[in-house]
Assembly symmetry: C2
Homo-oligomer: 300 residues x 2
């Protein structure tokens, strides 16, 4: 297991973590500058932030700072109620692959979607098995496209509390079942990338509770472990979406899970992804970044 | 699958559902009277409510109305930081078995506990594997006692969002692994009770998201299916604990899950258990009960 205590060489900042500073929106260009100033080597930006700043501009800025992208957030949201909706998701996901490739991201993270309309509070139906079938088909289709762009797809199993509205893939086991079905030979490895074309993003917030987590990380193996995300689970948690904790402030034994991932050969970034309306998004982003650096060394 | 549309013969009311009426506490004696008045045949009371009303009084009242108990809430909370804490949990769980036996409950429901102190916002440690080991040992010990009292123990797997503070058993598979380890021969069946001494409570709120749910219900089989709890998952859900929905108001396909349970031979009550600070607990309990009866016929 790598020693993180001496520096932050392997820290990546998911840009949602400082999308707001003192309660106000912070543009991606400012986020990138603030990261680069602190010697942070990698980020993982969100599509809406990239779009607001302009893809070409972001691409230039990332390259000029020598920043890597531990991932690109995000593709997915495959389920729909009709053919037009499925087609729109297909087209949008291909654009996401293109953007990820332009930014030379390590992977495109997939938040796969769930019951259509549920995120807007009006689920079109209750058939989660149908949603899962559409997700499987959507990933199968996108995988063909992503292969030509040489962009690995990372299925991110989301916590079961998001099964209705954000992602109906909710455990590592379930995500790996999809990987095994769609890419049984773990294709796509090259001398440049030891990872398969289809794998998973391990986010401790979503997965820490799972009694089969270690077993399934072993099953994933190095080639399916495409990303590692860190934050913490607070007790109490006051909001289902935006009350994530800073590493060390909650109950997740993050080093233990990182140890499992690294035992498989994972050697990528530890990406901090914190959504926090009530706490961290209210603070100056400089303070948040400095805290991420400190906690990366002591609590990850 | 039984037809619930014509009556509420198989409706049970978990008394937490109307523990508050118009925002004020409602005594268990009033809850029992209100249920009996509506021809409800079963309840599942909570220990704190029974204690407040007096066990002997509740026992008399339940018998005089011919009410059954679909379960007794609850035992569990096994993990602790020291021997004294483990002993206190052991003693308290034995008292819960005795109370359940006095009330002739179908089972004692176990909310098994998790990280000590987390429910109070100060987890003593982050070792969920240790908590799970203590839970296993606690159930093993209690099972011996419960056998002599002929009181089945129903492990209730709680939603993973409660893994830190309420229950570190979070899937049917995990609960059944414990059952298989501690009672591989599925002991305890008798002519009076087709159920085993150790089994599970299937609560759709906790389990609906699980892609392995149907498979694990089959694995459980009739003798390990000790209880069936119903409410609904709202989108959005605004509180992790107290924003449960009335059956039909959310996204859970309750009849599908009931069908799986009944396909195994489960023939007990469908117990409504709704915690709802912002909605149902604010309404008059009469309205809530009438709604439970109506929804039991149309949405369960």
């Amino acid at each position: 297991m790598r020693d993180f205590s001496q520096n932050h060489r392997w820290l990546s900042i998911n840009t949602a973590t400082i999308r707001r500073s003192r309660g106000a929106d912070l543009p991606l260009t400012d986020i990138i500058e603030a990261c680069a100033q602190r010697g942070i080597r990698a980020i993982s930006p969100w599509r809406d932030q990239v779009q607001a700043a302009g893809l070409a501009k972001v691409s230039t800025l990332v390259r000029s700072h020598g920043l890597q992208l531990s991932g690109y957030c995000r593709g997915g949201m495959f389920p729909a109620t009709d053919a037009a909706g499925l087609k729109a998701a297909r087209d949008d996901n291909r654009r996401a692959v293109d953007e990820a490739a332009e930014l030379n991201a390590a992977c495109l993270v997939l938040v796969v979607g769930a019951l259509p309309g549920a995120l807007q509070g009006k689920a079109a139906h209750k058939d989660i098995a149908l949603a899962r079938s559409q997700v499987r088909d959507g990933i199968a289709d996108l995988l063909e496209y992503a292969r030509t762009a040489k962009m690995p797809l990372a299925i991110e199993p989301l916590h079961p509390m998001y099964a209705a509205d954000r992602a109906c893939i909710n455990t590592m086991e379930q995500a790996l079942d999809v990987c095994d079905e769609l890419d049984p030979r773990r294709s796509g490895e090259s001398s440049e990338r030891p990872q398969a074309a289809l794998g998973v993003a391990v986010d401790v917030y979503h997965l820490w509770w799972d009694p089969k987590l270690e077993q399934q990380i072993v099953r994933a193996g190095r080639d399916r472990l495409l990303a590692f995300h860190a934050c913490d689970w607070l007790t109490p948690t006051t909001d289902l979406l935006n009350d994530r904790g800073m590493m060390g402030d909650g109950v997740i034994d993050i080093p233990r899970i990182r140890g499992w991932v690294e035992a498989q050969g994972f050697a990528g970034y530890s990406e901090v992804e914190i959504f926090s309306t009530g706490n961290w998004w209210k603070r100056p982003h400089q303070e948040v970044l400095d805290t991420c650096i400190a906690r990366h060394r002591t609590a990850v």
